[in-house]
């Protein structure tokens, strides 16, 4: 076991993927000499050369669009978008091309492409640097959408995503880049599929459903609740598309209460889909409405007020209270 941050675990995972798969290549703005603005690709260009770790001109549609061509011809491009807010210029390529090439060709062309995006707020940034665009992707058939919450997952999931023959949007919780954890980098392969949810903490009174940056916050909330005698189950979804519905449903059938937590705005955020599915499958098991603790329906506000904007321990516990009394 090695202690790594999320950022370093991603770096290690990318290195291993590049070594194992000659067709894999990293591609993005400032990922070469600089190693990316978050240093996730640090040292990799020096190690694998500028044809495997490629600095792209400053244009996201061009970046993703040319990656489509590379992937269609057998390469496995791992594209980095510098910040969440800069994925939108590539949206057409993502929605109309990346997600559909297999469908358009009756399966004849695979698109083994990974789109890495540091996402989410809480880092005191200026606008466009704290977005949570995951619902746009999860609403798009043909994309897989995953996000990691721990160094261990970061290390394995990035390798699994690169090995996947489908396009995967890989969301990296940037406020957790420096969180540390144990990673077994000697192990041969991941022990679970990146598309299965993880029960981080079992519990019986209510289920907290989260992913990415909010997993840690939910675990902390669960610990505080435990002190008050409230036993919360915490689920880390890991995959937002496909959703591991079975794990969610089984948990809520047991606890009868669910709170979904995410940074993204409430309306049509992941919480909407999860609440819709829960009520569809467990209406008669529900002791209270599924509640959502989310960003408010605002553009991401200035950093001095982001603390109030983002779900935190207290807002989560407040929702748990409402659920338990609801």
């Amino acid at each position: 076991m090695t202690t790594l941050t999320v950022a370093k675990a991603l770096n290690a995972g990318l290195r291993r993927a590049l070594a194992a798969e000659p067709k894999a290549l990293l591609y993005g703005e400032d990922i070469g000499k600089l190693g990316g603005v978050f240093r996730v690709t640090e040292g990799l260009q020096a190690e694998f050369g500028p044809d495997r770790v490629v600095d792209s001109p400053l244009a996201e549609s061009g970046l993703l669009g040319t990656a489509v061509g590379l992937a269609a011809r057998g390469y496995r491009p791992v594209v980095e978008i510098q910040f969440d807010g800069f994925v939108y210029p590539a949206f057409d390529q993502l929605v109309s091309q990346v997600s559909r090439l297999r469908f358009r060709t009756a399966g004849r062309i695979s698109l083994p492409l990974v789109l890495r995006i540091p996402y989410g707020g809480g880092i005191g940034a200026i606008e466009h640097h704290s977005e949570s665009p995951e619902a746009y992707f999860a609403h798009t058939p043909g994309l897989k959408v995953v996000t990691c919450a721990t160094p261990e997952d970061a290390y394995w999931m990035i390798q699994q995503a690169i090995a996947d023959d489908d396009p995967v949007v890989f969301l990296e919780p940037k406020r957790r880049y420096h969180d540390k954890g144990e990673v077994d980098i000697e192990q041969q392969s991941a022990s679970t599929s990146l598309y299965s949810a993880r029960i981080v903490k079992p519990g019986s009174h209510a289920t907290l459903i989260a992913y990415g940056p909010m997993v840690r916050t939910c675990v902390e909330a669960a610990l505080v609740a435990a002190d008050e005698g409230i036993d919360l189950e915490v689920i880390d979804l890991r995959s937002l598309s496909p959703l591991d519905e079975a794990t969610i449903i089984a948990s809520v059938k047991r606890t009868g209460r669910a709170v979904v937590v995410h940074e993204a705005v409430r309306t049509l955020g992941m919480g909407a889909e999860i609440a819709a599915r829960i009520q569809e499958h467990c209406l008669y098991d529900l002791e209270a409405p599924v509640l959502r603790v989310t960003g408010y329906d605002l553009p991401y506000p200035p950093s001095r007020v982001e603390e109030g904007y983002l779900p935190d321990l207290d807002r989560i516990l407040d929702a748990v209270d409402r659920s338990l009394n609801g």
């Binding site: 290549l25 044809d51 792209s56 001109p57 244009a59 549609s61 061009g62 669009g65 040319t66 990656a67 489509v68 061509g69 590379l70 992937a71 269609a72 011809r73 057998g74 390469y75 210029p89 057409d92 390529q93 109309s96 091309q97 297999r102 469908f103 358009r104 060709t105 009756a106 399966g107 004849r108 062309i109 695979s110 058939p141 043909g142 897989k144 996947d164 023959d165 489908d166 598309y195 496909p242 959703l243 519905e245 079975a246």
Partner: protein, 368 residues
């Protein structure tokens, strides 16, 4: 903008009257019998197109984008392909598709709605049609980058080298994606030939809405060569494309070709060009018809004769007949099959949706 004249800025090797034209930079090295082969492709392309248009009129196709008038630009460029090349069409390149050996019945499936864009007869180096204007130019640059990594660029033996060619229209030149494709191609010196068919219109908008200057000059602003060719002159198109592909295959980077031509038909079968253009313009271009001039030339030099043309007419009729039967016999798709074409491994929930759909469909078979 005034009409371009044969000269250094407008390569023409066969004029509208079917006379060979001298050009200081380019000359056609093929034989007249090669040109007869080319004429056959032009004529059959036009027949595929007119037949498909007719099938749409009869309600057998939902839509058809005619290639009428652009045959020389398409067939001429296709004659410059070699085995390591990759071809990335837009949606109107029926002549190119025909030349790479695609069964035209396959093409119809997309427009009949019996399939998406894949065709069983499509060779792997021919990318599927694209319908979002300009997006395919970026894919082409990426494929050219793949060729660089595959080691098929700039090899000693030209036979071992390849490049990518991508087709798009005059309207497409306004899209960010196309200009980004120029950027990426130049930055990576990618072996890609940008083949713009300037057919004078983007639906109803004349080329002047997109650009105040000739399109081929765009390339210079990005640091690579641009060249304009008479798109209705098969010889010129073939020779210029040959040169450009070769330039790219050798590792010199991208080239932009503007094939100056005319969309003689409607934008698609849904379009009504009388709303935005007049007969005079059409007539002027009919006088420059790409097929007419090559036939005139070949008849004059005696490379073909009426018997040859009659045989071609028979072949053309047979092809048309095959299209008509092929079209109505295209297999009807089943919605259920599409659920497994989205992902390499289909997620559970999507299989559930398929099963719901199947169960629902089955419920109609039982008495309710």
């Amino acid at each position: 903008m005034t009409e371009p004249q044969a000269g250094p800025d407008f390569v023409q090797l066969l004029d509208p009257q079917g006379n060979r034209v001298e050009n200081s930079d380019f000359s056609y090295s093929g034989s007249d019998s090669d040109l007869a082969d080319a004429l056959r492709d032009l004529v059959l392309t036009r027949r595929i197109d007119s037949e498909a248009t007719a099938l749409q009129r009869k309600g057998e196709l939902g839509l058809w984008p005619p290639s009428l008038g652009q045959e020389a630009a398409q067939v001429g460029s296709a004659r410059a392909f070699s085995k390591h090349d990759i071809i990335v069409p837009s949606y109107r390149e029926h002549g190119v598709a025909w030349c790479v050996g695609i069964d035209p019945v396959d093409m119809l499936s997309t427009f009949r709605g019996t399939g998406m864009t894949d065709w069983a007869s499509r060779p792997d180096n021919f990318h599927p049609y694209s319908f979002v204007i300009g997006t395919q130019t970026l894919h082409a640059v990426g494929m050219a980058m793949a060729q660089q990594r595959d080691g098929v660029v700039g090899n000693q033996n030209p036979e071992d080298s390849g490049a990518t060619i991508v087709y798009f229209g005059d309207g497409a030149t306004s899209q960010g994606d196309v200009n980004e494709a120029f950027i990426f191609a130049a930055s990576f010196a990618a072996p890609v030939v940008f083949f713009c068919q300037n057919n004078q219109y983007a639906i109803s908008e004349p080329t002047t809405v997109q650009s105040r200057i000739p399109i081929y000059r765009r390339a210079a602003g990005f640091g690579f060569p641009g060249i304009r060719v008479d798109g209705n002159d098969l010889l010129a198109v073939q020779v210029v494309t040959d040169w450009a592909m070769d330039y790219a295959r050798k590792g010199n980077g991208p080239v932009l070709i503007e094939a100056y031509t005319f969309r003689m038909g409607a934008h698609t079968t849904s379009d009504d060009p009388t709303k935005y253009r007049n007969d005079t313009e059409l007539e002027a271009w009919q006088a420059k018809d790409p097929i007419e001039r090559l036939r005139t030339y070949l008849l004059r030099v005696g490379a073909i004769d009426q018997t040859w043309l009659d045989a071609l007419a028979v072949e053309s009729d047979q092809l048309a007949e095959r299209l008509r039967t092929g079209c109505v016999n295209l297999p009807e798709p089943r919605l259920a099959d599409y659920f497994e074409q989205v992902y390499a491994e289909t997620p559970e929930a999507l299989l559930d949706q398929r099963d719901q759909h199947l169960a629902y469909e089955a419920s109609f078979l039982e008495p309710r």
